[in-house]
C-alpha cells in the first residue's frame, strides 16, 4: 500500500514559498488572502517497513532544524482552504526520482519496476474566499491542469474526510504493443483526416507523395519479401512525418519562392536558406581567405569557429515557443536544457561555457480578455523565467546575456530563445574536435534518460499553429541533473575516445537523430524493443518519436563498447545498445525480430520536393504623427525609462547565475551600484588566459511593422554594436540567426501569406546585404515559422522577429569597457550620425504610433566607425561606452549616467544630424533610434587621441560628465529641455518590473 509522507515547516519558521504565492495571488489575481503555508507531500509507492519509513521521513525527506513530518496522517491545520497540486501520470517528476534514489541508498535496495515516489505540494490558504475564488487560485495560479492535477478541500471537508486521499499518479497503460498499418488508398479528404487526427502535420501534397511511394511496384516487391504489406506501418508514417515536419525539414526556408517586390518586378528564389544564409557564409569565408575562422557551419547541431590554436568555440541558439505557451515552466526548462545538448552534441562534444536567453512576451499586466487556452502573459512570464532559471542554474552554466521584449501580439505565442556556447578542444585524440564520422558496423547507443510518452508529436505540433486541441503529450519537462550526470560521463568518454559520433535527441526523438546519423554511413538497423522505457506499454512508433529529454545518440565502435558501458555504469548513467549502423541504404526498424519500418533513406531524406510559396511585397503606410515641439522632455524621458521594453530587468537577471565557472568579465549589470545594463557579455572560458569570448544580440520586432528588411538590418547592427561596445574584435566574429515568423504560407487561414512571405524574403536579403559587408559569417541558426494562435475566430500572429546573436573574441579581456560613466569631467562623444528615424521607435509606440521613417543602417559607415572605435578601445582611450537602441540618445545617456553615479550634460546643437533642416528637432535628436551609434566617454587628456582615432567617422563631442547628480539636456533653442536627478531617473527605470 502506498504511503503518504507529509513534510511540514515548523510553525515558527517562515515559509518563503507560501509568502511568494500569497504575493502572486494578490498581484495577479487581485484577491486578498491572509496567509499561505505549504506542505511537501511524498507519495511513496515502495514497500517499506515502518522503521524504514521513519528513517526516510526523518532523514533525506526532512530537515530536523526547520521541518517535521507525518506518515500516513494529515499534518495540515489552521487553514480555510487546502489545495494539493501534483503531477499527472507520466509527467516528469524530478523530485520524485531523487526521492526514490534516496530510498534506495538508505535501504540498500534498488527500486523495483513499477515502484516509485510521487511528489505533490499542499497549499494551505487562510482568508475569506468563495469556492469560486479558490477555484480561480487553483487553476489560475497553482496548477497547470495540462500537466498537473489538484484536489481542493475546505477545512470542514478536510476534517470530515480525515485529510487528502492518497493518489498514485502511476502510468497505467494497457500493454498493447502493436504495429498498425495505415491504408492510404483513400480519398483526399480521408488522407487529410489521417494527417490531422494523427498530428502528422503533413499536407495533402505530402500525403500523396507518400501514397505514390507505396504504390511503386519496386517498393511493393521489396516489402513483400520482408513480409510487409503494401500499406505503410504507423512507424513508417510517423518517421516520415517527423522527418518532413517544418520543424525538422525547414520546408519554408527550402521552398521555391516567387517574389514580387511590389513594383511588379518578380524574382524566383530557390531556397532562402541556400540563396541568402548559406551564401552569406560562403561569400564571407571566401573574402576572408586564409583568415577564415569558420570550422563547421550549418552541418552539425551547432556552428564551430576557431578560438585559438588549442580551442574552438561552439554556439547555437534555439527556440521553444509552442511548448512554453502550453506549459511555460516545463517548456522553457526543456528549451534551455535542450539547447545545451546542441553544442554538447557538436563535433566530438564540447564543454558548455555560457547560456543566453531572449524572451518575447505580452504585457504581464495585460487586462483585456484572452482567447480560451491562452495562459495569461504574467503566468507565461513567471513560468518561463523560472524554467530557464532552474535549467541554467542547475546545469552550472552561467547565463551571461539576454533581454526581454514586450509586444501584446506575443500573447498568441511567447518566444523563448535559448542559446548555449561551448568550448571544444581543437584536437581530440589526434583528430579535429569538430569532425566526426560513423563507420558501418558501429553500434547505435543511447545514453541518458528513459523513453516515455512525453513530447510525442513535439516536432509536428510546433509545425502547426497553436489551437484549443494542441496535444497534451507534446509537453516535456527537462531534468537538468540527469543531463548533467550524462554530460559528466560523456565528456570523459570523449577524452578516452570511446565513441566516434555524438548527436542530440531533440525534436523527433530517435527518428530524427538516428535518421540523420544514418545519412553519414548509409543506413541503420534498430531494435526498438531494446529501448529503455519509463513505463511499459509504449507502441513502437511512440518509442521512435518520443521527445523524452536528456538523451544523446552515439556511434560506438564495437571494440570500445565494453569500456563505454562499464564507464557509463560507474557514472550512474543508463546506456543502451539499440542497433547497428549499416550501409544498406535503409532506415530499418525492428521490434524484436519483426520489421516495423523499412524506409529507403533516399525517400526519407530526399523524397520531398520543395514547396512553392508566393511572396508579394507591399510597403505599408502608417499614419505619420506630427510632434509639436515641447519646452520640456523630462517627462517623456521618464516615461520611456519606465516602458516595459526599456526598464530594468534586474529582478529577473539576478535569478540567473551569471558567474559560475569563474570566467565572468563583463556582467549583465555594472556601474557604481552594480545596476547599470551592460551591452554585451565578456567571458574568459580558460581561467589562466585573458583571451575572452564576447557575446551580444540584436532584436527589434517592432520595425517589422514598417519593413522586415530594416527590422533584420537593425537587429544585425544592434547585435554587432553591442558586441563592439564592450570590446569584441571585428576580425573574429560570427553571427547566428533565429527567425521566428508567423505562418507565411498562403492558405485559407492565412490569406495574407504572400505579404508575410515577402517580409521573410526581405529579412533574408538584409541578412545577406549586411553580414557580407560586416564580414559576419552565419555559423548556425534556426527558424520557427508557425507562431500564430488560431481558434477558429481569433487569430493572433506575432510580429516577424529575427534574433541576431553575435559571438566572437577579444584578445585581452583586461581591455573590456563597460557602459557606466567613470568620473566627473570626462567628455561625452556620440559616434555615428542621427537622422529623423522615429518610425517604429519606442517613443512613437508610447504615443500610440508606428510611423514610417524606420531606421536604415549604413553598413559601410557603421563598419568604419566600429573599427575606429575598436582601435581606440585597444589603445586604452575609452572610459565608457553604451550603445544607443530603444529610446535613442536620451535613454542611453541617462542609463550611462545613473549607472556611473554622475550626472551628464548634453547639448543637442552639437549632435551630428543628417537630413533636411526641417526634420531636425529636439524630439528627433533625443529619441530617434538611428542605428550604429555609440555614446562614449573619454578622459579629457585622452580626448585628442580619441578624436584622432575616430577622425574618419562621424564623432561629435556633445557634452560632459558632471560632478553632481543632475542629468541635463540643452535643446536646439539653447534652453534646457531635460533636467532630472539621477535618483529619479533610476527609480523610473527600476520600478516597473522590480516586484516581478
Amino acid at each position: 500500500m502506498p504511503h503518504r509522507i507529509e513534510i511540514t515547516l515548523k510553525d515558527e519558521v517562515r515559509d518563503p514559498r507560501g509568502e511568494r504565492i500569497k504575493r502572486e495571488i494578490e498581484h495577479f489575481l487581485h484577491l486578498s488572502v491572509d496567509q499561505v503555508r505549504t506542505i511537501d507531500v511524498y507519495t511513496v509507492d515502495v514497500p517499506l517497513s515502518r522503521e524504514e519509513l521513519e528513517a526516510v521521513a526523518a532523514g533525506p525527506f526532512s530537515d530536523p532544524v526547520i521541518q517535521g513530518y507525518a506518515i500516513d496522517k494529515a499534518a495540515a491545520h489552521g487553514f480555510d482552504w487546502l489545495v494539493e497540486v501534483g503531477f499527472r501520470p507520466g509527467v516528469t517528476d524530478n523530485v520524485g526520482r531523487t526521492a526514490g534514489e534516496a530510498i534506495a541508498y538508505l535501504t540498500g535496495r534498488a527500486l523495483a519496476a513499477g515502484e516509485g515516489v510521487y511528489t505533490s505540494v499542499q497549499y494551505l490558504i487562510s482568508g475569506k474566499l468563495s469556492a469560486e475564488q479558490i477555484e480561480k487560485i487553483a487553476t489560475g495560479l497553482l496548477c497547470n491542469t495540462l500537466i498537473q492535477r489538484y484536489q481542493l478541500l475546505d477545512a470542514a471537508s478536510f476534517q470530515a474526510k480525515g485529510g487528502v486521499a492518497t493518489f498514485v499518479p502511476k502510468v497505467q497503460v494497457e500493454a498493447k504493443v502493436e504495429v498498425n498499418t495505415v491504408n492510404l488508398e483513400v480519398s483526399d479528404e480521408e488522407l487529410m483526416r489521417i494527417s490531422r487526427d494523427g498530428v502528422l502535420a503533413l499536407t495533402l501534397d505530402e500525403m500523396k507523395i507518400i501514397q505514390a511511394h507505396y504504390r511503386d511496384s519496386k517498393v511493393r516487391e521489396v516489402r513483400q519479401k520482408l513480409g510487409l504489406g503494401a500499406a505503410p506501418t504507423d512507424v513508417e508514417l510517423e518517421a516520415l512525418a517527423q522527418t518532413w515536419s517544418e520543424h525538422c525539414k525547414h520546408k519554408i526556408f527550402s521552398a521555391d519562392v516567387e517574389y514580387d517586390d511590389g513594383t511588379g518586378k518578380t524574382e524566383k528564389i530557390n531556397s532562402l536558406f541556400k540563396s541568402y544564409i548559406q551564401k552569406t557564409t560562403a561569400d564571407v569565408r571566401a573574402a576572408l581567405g586564409d583568415k577564415d575562422f569558420c570550422l563547421s557551419v550549418f552541418k552539425d547541431n551547432a556552428g564551430v569557429i576557431r578560438f585559438n590554436d588549442d580551442w574552438s568555440l561552439v554556439f547555437k541558439v534555439e527556440t521553444h515557443n509552442s511548448p512554453s505557451a502550453l506549459d511555460p515552466y516545463g517548456g522553457a526548462l526543456t528549451g534551455i536544457v535542450g539547447v545545451n545538448r546542441d553544442p554538447f552534441g557538436t563535433g566530438k562534444g564540447a564543454k558548455l561555457i555560457f547560456n543566453t536567453d531572449v524572451f518575447c512576451f505580452a504585457d504581464p499586466f495585460y487586462e483585456k480578455p484572452l482567447p480560451k487556452r491562452l495562459l495569461h502573459p504574467s503566468r507565461i512570464f513567471e513560468g518561463v523565467v523560472e524554467g530557464v532559471e532552474h535549467g541554467g542554474n542547475k546545469s552550472g552554466i552561467p547565463t551571461v546575456n539576454g533581454s526581454i521584449v514586450f509586444d501584446d501580439r506575443f500573447a498568441g505565442k511567447p518566444l523563448v530563445f535559448c542559446g548555449t556556447a561551448g568550448l571544444m578542444p581543437a584536437t581530440v585524440n589526434g583528430e579535429p574536435g569538430h569532425q566526426k564520422r560513423i563507420v558501418p558496423g558501429d553500434l547505435i547507443v543511447m545514453p541518458g534518460g528513459r523513453i516515455g510518452k512525453d513530447g510525442i508529436h513535439g516536432a509536428t505540433f510546433s509545425s502547426e499553429e497553436l489551437n484549443e486541441n494542441s496535444p497534451v503529450s507534446a509537453v516535456q519537462i527537462g531534468d537538468p541533473i540527469t543531463q548533467k550526470r550524462m554530460f559528466d560521463f560523456l565528456i570523459r568518454a570523449r577524452d578516452k575516445n570511446l565513441y566516434r559520433f555524438i548527436t542530440d535527441n531533440g525534436a523527433g526523438g530517435l527518428s530524427s537523430s538516428i535518421g540523420e546519423m544514418s545519412e553519414e554511413c548509409g543506413g541503420c538497423q534498430v531494435d526498438l524493443s531494446k529501448a529503455p522505457l519509463k513505463y511499459p506499454g509504449l507502441a513502437p512508433w511512440e518509442i521512435l518519436i518520443s521527445e523524452a529529454q536528456e538523451r544523446m545518440s552515439l556511434a560506438v565502435p564495437p571494440e570500445s563498447i565494453d569500456a563505454f558501458m562499464e564507464m557509463a555504469q560507474r557514472f550512474g548513467v543508463e546506456a543502451t545498445v539499440l542497433g547497428t549502423f549499416t550501409d544498406s541504404g535503409i532506415f530499418h526498424m525492428l521490434y524484436g525480430e519483426k520489421t516495423v519500418a523499412y524506409l529507403p533513406l533516399s525517400f526519407l531524406h530526399g523524397g520531398l520536393p520543395p514547396m512553392q510559396i508566393p511572396a508579394r511585397w507591399e510597403q505599408p503606410v502608417h499614419p505619420e504623427p506630427t510632434l509639436p515641439p515641447a519646452a520640456d522632455y523630462t517627462g517623456d524621458l521618464k516615461g520611456l525609462l519606465s516602458s516595459l521594453n526599456i526598464c530594468s530587468k534586474e529582478s529577473v537577471v539576478r535569478r540567473y547565475d551569471h558567474e559560475v565557472q569563474g570566467g565572468s568579465v563583463v556582467k549583465p549589470f555594472t556601474g557604481v551600484a552594480n545596476d547599470g545594463p551592460s551591452d554585451a557579455a565578456v567571458v574568459r572560458p580558460i581561467l589562466d588566459s585573458f583571451e575572452a569570448v564576447v557575446t551580444g544580440h540584436g532584436i527589434s520586432p517592432r520595425y517589422s511593422d514598417i519593413d522586415a528588411y530594416h527590422m533584420a538590418a537593425n537587429a544585425i547592427d544592434e547585435g554587432l554594436r553591442n558586441y563592439v561596445a564592450v570590446g569584441g574584435s571585428l576580425d573574429l566574429v560570427a553571427g547566428l540567426d533565429n527567425f521566428c515568423w508567423c505562418d507565411p504560407v498562403l492558405s485559407e487561414r492565412t490569406p495574407d501569406g504572400p505579404y508575410k512571405m515577402a517580409q521573410l524574403v526581405r529579412a533574408n536579403k538584409a541578412l545577406y546585404d549586411y553580414c557580407t559587408v560586416f564580414s559576419l559569417p552565419l555559423i548556425s541558426g534556426k527558424d520557427s515559422m508557425k507562431n500564430d494562435f488560431y481558434d477558429g475566430t481569433t487569430k493572433i500572429s506575432i510580429p516577424p522577429t529575427l534574433l541576431f546573436s553575435v559571438i566572437g573574441k577579444m584578445e585581452d579581456a583586461r581591455k573590456a569597457v563597460t557602459m557606466d560613466v567613470k568620473r566627473p569631467g570626462d567628455l561625452v562623444y556620440l559616434v555615428g550620425v542621427t537622422k529623423n528615424e522615429l518610425g517604429g521607435s519606442e517613443y512613437l509606440a508610447q504615443q500610440g504610433y508606428v510611423g514610417n521613417s524606420v531606421p536604415k543602417v549604413d553598413a559601410q559607415a557603421a563598419l568604419a566607425s566600429y573599427r575606429a572605435y575598436h582601435k581606440a578601445l585597444n589603445d586604452g582611450l575609452v572610459a565608457s561606452c553604451h550603445d544607443l537602441s530603444d529610446g535613442g540618445l536620451a535613454v542611453a545617456a541617462a542609463e550611462s549616467a545613473f549607472a556611473g553615479g554622475y550626472g551628464i550634460e548634453l547639448d543637442l546643437a552639437l549632435v551630428a544630424f543628417a537630413g533636411a533642416a526641417g526634420e531636425k528637432s529636439d524630439a528627433v535628436l533625443l529619441f530617434s533610434e538611428s542605428a550604429s551609434r555609440l555614446l562614449v566617454t573619454v578622459r579629457p587628456e585622452k580626448a585628442n587621441a580619441f578624436e584622432a582615432a575616430l577622425a574618419g567617422s562621424v564623432c561629435a563631442k556633445i557634452g560632459a560628465v558632471r560632478g553632481d547628480q543632475t542629468f541635463t539636456v540643452t535643446g536646439l533653442s539653447g534652453a534646457e529641455i531635460v533636467k532630472a536627478e539621477l535618483a529619479d531617473l533610476k527609480e523610473a527605470w527600476q520600478a516597473p518590473l522590480r516586484e516581478l
Partner: protein, 274 residues
C-alpha cells in the same frame, strides 16, 4: 616540505569544480585534483591521499529534497566498492587527521546537513543548523560585503582586515539554528567567521540586499571549533582576479582577487602543519 594536495569533488550536480581547483593552484597547492564522486565510490580516489577537501558550489541532485540533502544521504549510506565503508567514515577520518575541509555554497549546505558544521563539542554527525530558502523566496546572484570576525579560529580567514567582498549565488542560503543555545555557542566561540555587512565592514546587517537571504545574525559563513572545517555561502573561488569584480572597470584594484586568501591560507596551513 609536504606536497600540498587539494581534492575537489564533483558529480551529481556540482558545478564549481573547475574554478575551485584553479583557486587551489593559485593559492599554492602543488596538486588540485578534480574527482568525480564515482571515482570515490569505486575507490579509485581516496580522501586519505589528500590534505584539503573542497566541497564546492552546485545543485547536488538538483537540490530536489532541499539543498544537498540527497548527497548527505548518499555519503552516509553508500559504501565504497569492495568495502563496507561509507564515504562518511572517510570524511570523519579526514577531519580527525587534522586536515582541512572547505564547503562553499552547496558544499556548505552539505556540511551543515551532515552535521559537520558547526559540530559543537566535536560532534560531526548531528545536524544543529540549516540553510534554507532565502527570505525573498528567490535565487540571488549578487555581490556582498562580508565582515570577518578576527577572533575566529578559522584557518581560512586569517589575516583578512575588516572584511571581504564576494559574490553569492544561491536560493537557499538563509542560516538557521535548531535552538538558541546553538547560536549562543556559535557566537561565543567566534565560529561565525563571516557576516553580511555594510560596505565599510562596520556592522552586520539584516537589510536586503546587503544581507541577501535573511540569515540569522547575518551569518554568511561558519567554522568548527578547530577552524579547519569551514563553510560559507559566498564564493571565494569566484574572485581570484580583479576582472571578476563587478566594478573592475571603474575601481583601482589589486591584480589578485580578495577570495584567493582562503586558498592561500589553506595551502600555507597544509605546508606548515601536515
Amino acid at each position: 616540505m609536504t606536497k600540498a594536495k587539494a581534492l575537489v569533488i564533483t558529480g551529481n550536480g556540482t558545478n564549481c569544480e573547475t574554478e575551485a581547483a584553479h583557486a587551489c593552484r593559485l593559492g599554492g597547492f602543488d596538486e588540485a585534483r578534480i574527482a568525480h564522486i564515482s571515482e570515490l565510490m569505486t575507490g579509485e580516489v581516496s580522501l586519505d591521499d589528500y590534505h584539503f577537501l573542497n566541497l564546492t558550489g552546485g545543485f547536488l541532485d538538483g537540490d530536489d529534497l532541499g539543498s544537498a540533502k540527497a548527497q548527505a544521504n548518499r555519503l552516509r549510506y553508500a559504501a565504497v566498492a569492495g568495502s563496507n565503508e561509507p564515504i562518511l567514515e572517510q570524511l570523519l577520518r579526514f577531519i580527525g587527521d587534522g586536515k582541512l575541509v572547505l564547503g562553499v555554497c552547496n558544499g556548505f549546505q552539505l556540511l551543515v546537513k551532515m552535521g559537520m558544521l558547526p559540530a559543537l563539542g566535536s560532534d560531526y554527525v548531528k545536524q544543529t543548523a540549516t540553510l534554507t530558502y532565502n527570505a525573498s523566496g528567490r535565487f540571488q546572484d549578487r555581490w556582498c560585503y562580508l565582515k570577518v570576525d578576527a577572533s575566529s579560529p578559522s584557518v581560512y580567514t586569517r589575516g583578512i582586515e575588516g572584511g571581504v567582498y564576494l559574490p553569492v549565488r544561491h536560493g537557499e542560503g538563509k542560516f538557521l539554528v535548531d535552538a538558541p543555545e546553538t547560536l549562543t555557542a556559535i557566537e561565543n566561540k567566534h565560529l561565525a567567521c563571516l557576516k553580511y555587512s555594510d560596505a565599510d565592514y562596520t556592522a552586520a546587517t539584516m537589510e536586503f540586499p546587503e544581507n541577501p537571504n535573511g540569515s540569522t545574525n547575518a551569518i554568511a559563513g561558519i567554522c568548527d571549533e578547530t577552524g579547519r572545517v569551514m563553510g560559507l555561502m559566498p564564493h571565494p573561488e569566484a574572485f581570484v582576479h580583479r576582472t571578476q569584480h563587478p566594478r573592475w572597470t571603474r575601481e583601482e584594484l589589486p591584480e589578485e582577487g580578495a577570495g584567493l586568501v582562503f586558498f592561500r591560507n589553506a595551502a600555507q596551513y597544509v605546508k606548515q602543519n601536515l
